[in-house]
């Protein structure tokens, strides 16, 4: 199967199918709702039902809701009508994230999108599908990266919040608007800790509740009512909080929190290395269990990760595309 890597996305010319294209195209698959993967303006869009819900929420504001969106059911083939059929496969990353299995000319290709193997706090577990050709991300594709499990991360998050509150300090968690932010709010509220949530994170909580996750008793951020609460805010909001006359302690929950120098970058004291991307050993395991003979690596440490795979006897290459914006910050 021919694959083209363009700065705007991945293209399968034999099937006339784009994956995560950032430019308007004829037919596009959206793996998940993070904005660097999901852009509007295509003539036809395929995605999971939950991804579509996020996009409609987000784009209703921008008045740019996806046109001609088709929702594909998990583990069911959908025929594109040109000798290609596609099938979404459950994937741990954020709610709604799916891998895409593409079958064409007797060959099976799997595009992971963003993926982790260990269970996430919110969303599906990853199912690994046997394939001939795998396109996998490598945001954390170096052996230095090894993350906490969801349970370990949850107890670190709760412990940190409780410790700060005991000392009359305000614990602040930095997490981006879709995914990490809600995971943290979910963990804290279910541990009975009062939480104030930044608007960008809060507005997507109802869409998570629809999926069956509880967020009991969270409140929107209000600068006049902060004491005794944990704050969950987007990273850019840190400067605003530092401008207030309150004692805050920042925790950074991210894959990048693996590295000590992330403290300097984020101003965090507590580092909780947990991500909705797989760590190094998870990525290796996904490659291994897929049985793919050919592997293309996109995003992040593409060259070093492909190099490591080649040493294991896999026909791997780094896809040379302009990297998508770094979202895990």
């Amino acid at each position: 199967m021919r694959i083209e890597y363009h700065p705007s996305g991945i293209y399968l010319p034999d099937s006339n199918l784009w994956m995560d294209s950032r430019e308007p195209v004829e037919v596009n698959w959206i793996s998940h709702a993070h904005s660097d993967h999901a852009r509007g303006g295509h003539q036809r869009t395929y995605s999971s039902v939950k991804t579509l819900r996020f996009l409609q929420l987000r784009d209703a504001e921008a008045q740019n809701a996806p046109q001609n969106a088709t929702v594909l059911a998990d583990r069911e083939w959908f025929d594109l009508g040109n000798g290609t059929r596609i099938q979404p496969v459950p994937c741990a990353h954020i709610i709604g994230a799916r891998q895409l299995l593409v079958e064409s000319g007797g060959e099976r290709l799997c595009y992971t999108g963003d993926i982790k193997l260990k269970a996430s706090l919110l969303g599906s577990a990853t199912e690994i599908v046997p394939c001939d050709h795998l396109i996998i991300e490598s945001t954390f594709g170096l052996p230095i990266y090894s993350f906490l499990s969801a349970q370990e991360a949850a107890s670190r998050i709760v412990d940190f919040a409780a410790k700060c509150l005991r000392k009359q300090e305000i614990p602040v968690f930095l997490g981006y608007g879709l995914g990490r932010g809600q995971e943290i709010v979910h963990v804290l509220t279910n541990a009975g800790i009062p939480v104030a949530v930044h608007g960008a994170i809060g507005k997507l909580i109802p869409a998570h509740e629809v999926s069956g996750y509880a967020f009991p008793g969270w409140e929107p951020y209000n600068p006049n009512k902060l004491s005794g609460k944990a704050l969950v805010v987007v990273p850019g909001f840190k400067e605003v909080l530092e401008g207030l006359d309150i004692a805050i302690r920042i925790a950074y929950v991210s894959g990048w929190a693996m590295l000590d120098h992330s403290r300097a970058r984020t101003g965090a004291e507590e580092l909780i290395p947990y991500s909705d991307h797989g760590d190094f050993s998870e990525l290796l395991e996904i490659v291994d269990r897929s049985g793919a003979k050919k592997v293309d690596v996109v995003h992040g440490y593409t060259e070093p990760f492909a190099n490591i795979l080649r040493q294991k006897g896999i026909d791997a290459r780094a896809a040379r595309v302009e990297s998508f914006a770094e979202e895990d910050t």
């Binding site: 230095i144 400067e239 004291e269």
Partner: protein, 560 residues
């Protein structure tokens, strides 16, 4: 090392200085004397300080230093983990710290044996004694496989002495004071005399701080001058008029401390670096001095009766060992202006005038120069005195308060310096480089250029002066305008960011395309209000350069 490492991790995980000190003090108080000594030596980047060192005919041997290169560490890591060198290089680059990389890569690979501090020290002694690289590697590999990753992270960090946990050396002193219930001022003073915090800590434990005696041949703290704003505000002028002040020229050389005893001479810089072998003629000049002394002063490039530009001195500094022709082409002198110790007597608390006469006496039978000093009669003469100082090739003026003691704790205000920015330029950033340590994830070093016709010609590089927030914003902006890459770290960018830089001088240089280089360039402001076409031109740079030539023309020192 395991407890030590856990303590360091806890220190890193709080931004509060007081908490850092409290954590360290608590750890210190759990250690016996021997382990306290070891822990302090590890923390102060001197883990093998207690290895034997010899006094030779020409002075002391260099203190033992464990020079384990990146290459040795990487090969040991390769052997211990099985990762190829390219992967290791990528990991090292992502992490930005060798110890931390070691810790990450050895996760789940070691046997998890304890590494007591005495064993860690012993391992370092073995590495120190081992000259053969392959044997050193196997010592490291063995340790890598045996002990816990966290202990190894800090063992490797202690080789460079750079822990990157936000712990300043003065905070280690405070932790010692806290854990031994000693007043911090007493502890600092004692440590300044002993030059050995571990020894000082043990004395503090026994309540014997006052018994610590001055020991020569370790650099003591320097007294620093507080910079005065330019032009001098009225409040400062008032303070100066009200008090009694002595004036000296501020020299443009290298500030050093010279220790002399029984014919032995050592010279230390403000960075506490020993530079004795770079200046053999100075060692010789002190030969005629009797008794013991610690002198404070400045090394200057010198010819006839005046000092030469700093560049001449710089060429000397580039050499560890100098030959005769270098000594002739780039002659240096030491100009002394203070004395801290004389024949068993510590002079730090003596008034300035008393130290001065002691200095004059000590040097009476030598040819060592003493900085001319005069009493400030009237603040209105400062402008004229400044002009004289500049005409003599010096940087500015230094004012010393009459009767003041030699205060090393902070810039006390008893010494004041008047120094003017030579000029400022608006320049355009053409390339940016990843920083180190705390700034490893940011673009914090900038190469900048001036305009010549319609092209930008590089003239220098600077990495200080902006706030962390500004650097973060600038990093974001610069990353969006990258047009190329030199090597691994340097990004070439579209010339669009304008910075105002101040500097102390200008000289010809082959390093930059403009043909000029700036001395001590520092970023004063990010000029968001200016477009690149508004930046300064090469013509202006040329004019500035010529103006300095005129100033020094009659000195015939420009060797262009």
């Amino acid at each position: 090392m395991d407890e030590f490492a856990l303590t360091c991790e806890r220190i890193a995980a709080t931004g509060s200085h007081l908490e850092k000190i409290a954590i360290l003090a608590e750890y210190f108080s759990q250690l016996d004397d021997e382990n306290l000594t070891r822990a302090i030596r590890f923390l102060t980047g001197n883990p093998v300080a207690s290895a034997p060192r010899e006094q030779t005919l020409f002075g002391f041997e260099d203190p033992p230093k464990l020079a384990i290169g990146h290459a040795t560490l990487r090969r040991a890591l390769q052997l211990a983990t099985g990762w190829d060198l390219e992967t290791l290089r990528q990991c090292q680059r992502a992490v930005g710290d060798t110890g931390e990389t070691v810790g990450h890569l050895l996760r789940d690979r070691s046997k998890g044996e304890n590494l007591p501090l005495c064993l860690a020290e012993d391992l370092l002694f073995q590495l120190l004694a081992e000259r053969q690289p392959t044997r050193r590697e196997s010592l490291l590999v063995e340790a890598f496989k045996r002990h816990r990753p966290l202990a190894l992270k800090y063992l490797v960090k202690s080789l460079s002495g750079n822990f990157r946990i936000g712990l300043l050396s003065k905070m280690v002193e405070e932790a010692v004071a806290l854990s031994t219930a000693s007043p911090i001022a007493d502890l600092r003073a004692a440590n300044n005399l002993a030059g050995d915090l571990a020894k000082t800590a043990i004395a503090a434990r026994k309540g014997q701080l006052s018994q610590i005696e001055v020991r020569l041949f370790h650099p003591m703290d320097f007294m620093l001058a507080k910079p005065l704003p330019d032009p001098l505000p009225d409040t400062v002028l008032k303070t100066l008029s009200a008090g009694s002040w002595l004036v000296e020229d501020k020299y443009d050389g290298i500030r050093v401390q010279v220790h002399i005893e029984n014919g032995l001479v050592e010279i230390y810089t403000r960075g506490f670096e020993r530079v004795t072998s770079t200046f053999p003629e100075l060692v010789h000049a002190f030969g005629s001095m009797t008794g013991a002394a610690i002198l404070d002063g400045e090394i200057l490039a010198w010819q006839g009766d005046r000092s030469l530009p700093f560049t001449v001195l710089q060429q000397r500094l580039a050499r560890k060992k100098v030959n005769r022709s270098m000594m002739e082409s780039n002659p240096v002198v030491f100009v002394s202006y203070d004395i801290l110790y004389r024949d068993g007597r510590l002079l730090l608390d003596c008034p300035l005038e008393e130290r001065r006469s002691c200095l004059e006496q000590a040097l009476s039978r030598t040819k060592i120069r003493i900085a001319p000093q005069s009493r400030l009669q009237d603040v209105t003469t400062l402008e004229m005195l400044f002009g004289h100082a500049r005409a003599n090739g010096n940087e500015g003026l230094i004012l010393k308060q009459s009767g003041s003691s030699y205060e090393t704790a902070k810039r006390s205000g008893s010494w004041l310096k008047i120094k003017k920015v030579f000029a400022t330029l608006d320049v355009v950033v053409t390339a940016a480089e990843q920083g180190h340590g705390k700034r490893a994830s940011m673009l914090s070093d900038y190469t900048f250029a001036v305009l010549d016709g319609n092209q930008y010609l590089n003239i220098g590089k600077a990495y200080s002066g902006l706030t962390d927030t500004e650097i973060r914003d600038l990093t974001k902006l610069l990353k969006s305008i990258v047009i190329g890459r030199y090597g691994n770290r340097v990004l070439q960018v579209v010339p669009s960011v304008v910075l105002e830089v101040g500097f102390d001088g200008i000289q010809r240089s082959l390093r930059h395309k403009s043909g000029f280089a700036l001395r001590f360039p520092r970023i004063l402001r990010w000029r968001t209000d200016k477009a690149p076409k508004d930046c300064d031109t090469l013509d202006r740079v040329r004019d500035l350069y010529e103006s300095t030539l005129n100033l020094t023309a009659n000195r015939n020192i420009d060797k262009e």
